[in-house]
């Protein structure tokens, strides 16, 4: 009987509960990390000295009772040290030092294995990216359609491979606790690094970026549509940077002209003789007419007069020589760069039509744009961003402004909606899947806004400390702000939201962006979580909204309160009232008059909690940490291995001829027909 060679995983007989010890070791490691980062912080800000000074001031003003001063003295570091000590004692009660060492060394082995595998996968990914970049460049330079098709197929294959590696990294990350923690932490740190740039590449922006790059390579034109504050422009800048390094940027507005976008004629002054003046006037007038065919005869006449005066005035001893200067779009085309046209919905459609020829031109082809000859270099591309949704784009912009149909056609395939970050609407606890749910194929509830919030709150090492319900509160905030963003952006909601009176929530004037979300969390963090998060929601959302639109502030306040996650303290309802007819919020002035008192009511008294890396990682990834499995490799039986090799070899040979055998009759029948046809034809 041949036994299949297998690596058998089984639990080693142990006199203690290894899993329990292991989880304590993990907590200890987490606490140690917190301690290290606290020590670092202390070093940096001369924590001790500040505390001493604070104590002196407190004594002088004697606001606090002696017990309270005592509490301040007990600093975080001390709590942490106690925690570590207690854990150490508990571990030692259960296992010997030798066993702890074994456990740790196995744990590190798993960690290193993950890091090595991840590194090699990332290296492969990097290589794929480089080759794909090369292929994209080649594609843009290629004029032959057939060859372009070949390149296009190759590019798609590389993208596919890239995604496969990404999935593979995720897969190896969920294999054991070490890889799980390391993966979550590394992702968190990556996001942390990206945060200052204003665009964190969570799954959604990343996929939209990929999509845009693909379209830009193939058809040169992409338009991001979405509401204010979703980060379209930042994403556009990032794409341009990654694709061509240097890029051109045009902020769109109603009064933009062809000169701002394409080119302008600068006037230079040189010496001339007065006898040439009539000729120069004639030339300049002619040029002006050609350049402005849409002006009425009256307008032309008045401009002619102006030109005459200018030339005569300047021409006592000088001549005006005009020279062409390229503006952003033509400059980008000429140099093979990307041009970003921000808020393009404000630009007159007739001007945008000037893009058509540029987008259509073959690489290095010379074309004419508004009378200017230009060679379009490979690498040229246009990214439009517009504060407008797709339906608005179709209904409002296209109809009213009569945009050039040729441009619309090109835009069709390049339209990318860029909405709010995906964020599931469910309780925090429900949003974290168990490993078995994950294995059953259940989708992890989306949490990209929440991930950015955690990124902001975590320190460089990925540590988070704050009120015990911090993760839950941040989740609730993400959920609620995402909902408000969707209402503001006119996005489709899974379940329609109404106020208790049955009215729809209508938000149009006060934009709720990711910036609003981040500023709430940032202020909360900067105050060291001293007051309830409700205060920061009030101060960074309700209050500023009440200045722009009191009725929207009223609706937001009512909605948050009614949904039960914010403003549950009766004090809020007592002070802030919403007018039932026009929904305008009232009572803001009262709070503003005595902000300090209101803040004091919102003060959090509970001691701070240090979130173990496990808690942070689970919240961040939306999956419970995989359980530790103790493995032991059983020796392979040599003889069996040899036989298995032989069997596999025979099986492979059989598989190779199997389909031939199965289709034998049909294949031979085809052969016979061919033989008949071909030989007959020969005769």
């Amino acid at each position: 009987m041949i036994k299949k060679v297998k690596i058998i995983y089984k639990y080693m007989p142990k006199k203690y509960n290894e899993k329990e010890v292991y989880s304590k070791l993990l907590s200890k490691r987490g606490a140690e990390r917190h301690k290290a980062s606290q020590e670092y912080a202390r070093e940096k800000v001369f924590y001790d000295e500040r505390l001493q000074r604070l104590k002196q001031i407190l004594e002088k003003v004697s606001v606090f009772t002696p017990e309270e001063v005592e509490e301040v003295e007990k600093d975080d570091l001390e709590i942490l040290s106690q925690e570590i000590k207690a854990l150490q004692e508990e571990i030692e009660k259960q296992v010997s030092l030798e066993e702890i060492k074994n456990l740790q060394s196995r744990s590190y082995k798993r960690l290193f294995q993950f890091m090595r595998e991840r590194k090699s996968l990332l290296d492969a990914q990097k290589e794929l990216m480089e080759v794909r970049k090369k292929l994209r460049d080649e594609y843009q330079e290629e004029k032959n359609d057939g060859r372009r098709n070949v390149l296009s197929e190759l590019i798609s294959k590389y993208t596919e491979a890239f995604k496969q590696i990404e999935a593979k990294i995720k897969k190896i990350s969920f294999r054991n606790p070490e890889s799980f923690l390391a993966y979550a932490l590394l992702e968190l740190r990556k996001y942390k690094k990206e945060l200052p740039s204003g665009i964190v590449e969570t799954d959604y922006p990343k996929s939209q970026k990929e999509r845009a790059e693909e379209i830009l390579t193939k058809s040169r034109l992409v338009a991001f549509l979405g509401e204010t504050g979703t980060g379209k422009t930042r994403l556009a800048r990032k794409i341009a940077e990654e694709m061509t390094g240097d890029y051109e940027f045009v902020p769109g507005h109603k009064f933009i002209t062809a000169e701002d976008l394409f080119y302008y004629r600068g006037l230079d002054v040189r010496k001339i003789s007065p006898s040439d003046v009539p000729e120069i006037i004639k030339r300049e007038v002619e040029r002006f007419r050609l350049e402005h065919p849409d002006l009425s005869p009256e307008e032309i006449k008045s401009w002619e007069e102006t030109i005459k005066q200018v030339v005569q005035g300047q021409a006592v001893s000088k001549e005006l020589v005009s020279e062409v200067f390229l503006s952003a779009v033509l400059k980008a085309a000429n140099e093979g760069k990307i041009v970003i046209i921000d808020e393009f919905n404000y630009i007159p459609p007739a001007l945008l039509a000037g893009l058509n020829a540029l987008i259509e031109a073959k690489p290095d082809e010379e074309i004419s744009v508004f009378g200017q000859r230009i060679k379009v270099k490979p690498g040229f591309g246009v990214i439009l961003t517009g504060n407008i949704t797709r339906s608005e784009f179709r209904g409002r912009y296209l109809q009213r402004e009569k945009i050039d149909p040729a441009l619309v056609n090109r835009l069709n395939s390049g339209l990318i909606e860029y909405g709010s970050l995906p964020q599931a609407n469910m309780s925090f606890r429900e949003s974290i899947l168990s490993q078995s749910e994950l294995n059953e194929g259940k989708q992890i509830p989306s949490r990209e806004l929440f991930q950015i919030g955690l990124t902001l709150l975590a320190d460089e090492k990925g540590n988070i400390s704050g009120p015990k319900d911090l993760l839950e509160r941040v989740w609730n905030l993400s959920e609620e702000l995402s909902l408000l963003q969707k209402i503001y952006g006119g996005e489709k909601l899974e379940t329609p939201v109404k106020l208790s009176g049955g009215q729809d929530v209508v938000l149009k004037e006060y934009p709720i962006s990711n910036r609003t979300y981040l500023s709430i969390l940032e202020h909360w963090k900067n105050d060291n979580y001293r007051y309830s998060i409700d205060w920061y929601v009030y101060d960074n959302l309700i209050r500023p909204a009440s200045i722009i639109s009191p009725s929207e502030a009223g609706q937001i306040f009512s909605l948050l309160k009614e949904r039960g996650m914010f403003f549950q303290d009766p004090m809020w309802g007592e002070v802030l009232k919403v007018n039932p007819t026009n929904y305008e919020i009232e009572g803001i002035e009262e709070i503003e008059r005595s902000r300090k008192d209101f803040m004091k009511i919102q003060e959090l008294k509970a001691p701070k909690h240090y979130f173990a890396p496990k808690e942070v990682a689970e919240a961040f990834l939306g999956v419970e940490m995989p359980e530790l499995e103790e493995i032991e490799e059983v020796k392979k039986e040599l003889e069996d291995e040899e036989k298995i090799k032989k069997y596999e070899n025979l099986k492979e040979r059989y598989d190779n001829v199997k389909s031939f055998i199965e289709n034998l009759e049909q294949t031979i029948e085809l052969y016979c027909q061919d033989e008949k046809n071909i030989l007959r034809n020969k005769k």
């Binding site: 041949i2 069997y647 055998i661 294949t667 071909i678």
Partner: protein
């Protein structure tokens, strides 16, 4: 020298032997017996030998057919696909002066290059599934390509009475069907390039999802307005990505939108 009969005789014998292999293999898993192993090995050798013989003879046969092409100066490669025992022709085939193309080998499933015929009255390629590049045919009366699924380049069929390709799903390049009365492509999903039709009375493209570039009609089309209407609808739905162009008999552009 025909081999058909010899092959046919061999079939029955081999089929029985192949069934034996499966039983022997499962026995070998249990016992690991040396004799069983040798028996399997000898049976496999016999089948492998026959497969090789078939490959050689079939290749020779296809070679005979290929030699009748007009573009003899171009290199053409015959590739045997082990998985389904069919052949792929890597290169272009030009049969411009043939009146009938009805001896095209059934064993060929793919032409990786271009296929060109001119003035062939009948084109019969019953088992061809893919043409890697262009397919060009002129003045054809009957086109029978029931299994063609994909054309990697342009499909140009000017002056044919009926174009009926029931299984065609993709044309990566242009589709040009001038002076063709009936166009029936019930499974076509993609035309990667231009779509150009003139004098068509019936166009049936129920599954079309993409026309990559412009669509052009001839002014003389008997039901031009209806065609334009359809094209407009395609554009509304995002199927048509380019313009709608109308040409006159001289081939000059008269209208574009």
């Amino acid at each position: 020298m025909p081999h058909c009969q010899t092959f046919k005789q061999k079939i029955k014998e081999l089929k029985g032997k192949a069934q034996n292999i499966e039983a022997l293999l499962s026995e070998y898993v249990k016992t690991g017996d040396k004799k069983t192993e040798e028996k399997i090995d000898s049976l496999l050798k016999e089948i492998e030998k026959f497969k090789q013989e078939f490959k050689t003879k079939a290749t020779q046969l296809i070679e005979k057919f290929i030699q009748r092409r007009e573009n003899k100066n171009e290199k053409v490669e015959i590739i045997f696909d082990e998985r389904d025992c069919r052949f792929i022709i890597n290169g272009n085939l030009d049969f411009s002066s043939r009146i009938h193309l009805n001896d095209f080998p059934n064993l060929i499933k793919e032409i990786a290059g271009t296929l060109r015929t001119e003035s062939a009255h009948t084109i019969n390629l019953p088992n061809l599934e893919k043409i890697g590049k262009n397919f060009y045919t002129l003045f054809t009366h009957t086109i029978n390509l029931p299994n063609l699924k994909e054309v990697g380049g342009n499909l140009e069929i000017p002056i044919a009475q009926t174009i009926n390709l029931p299984n065609l799903e993709k044309i990566e390049g242009d589709f040009i069907a001038l002076l063709t009365q009936t166009i029936n492509l019930p499974n076509l999903e993609k035309i990667g390039g231009y779509f150009s039709v003139s004098n068509a009375q019936t166009i049936n493209l129920p599954n079309l999802k993409e026309i990559g570039r412009d669509i052009s009609f001839n002014e003389d089309n008997s039901d031009l307005n209806a065609l334009i209407e359809v094209a407009r609808e395609w554009r509304e739905k995002g199927i048509l990505r380019g313009k709608i162009k109308i040409f006159n008999e001289e081939g000059n552009l008269v209208q574009e939108f």
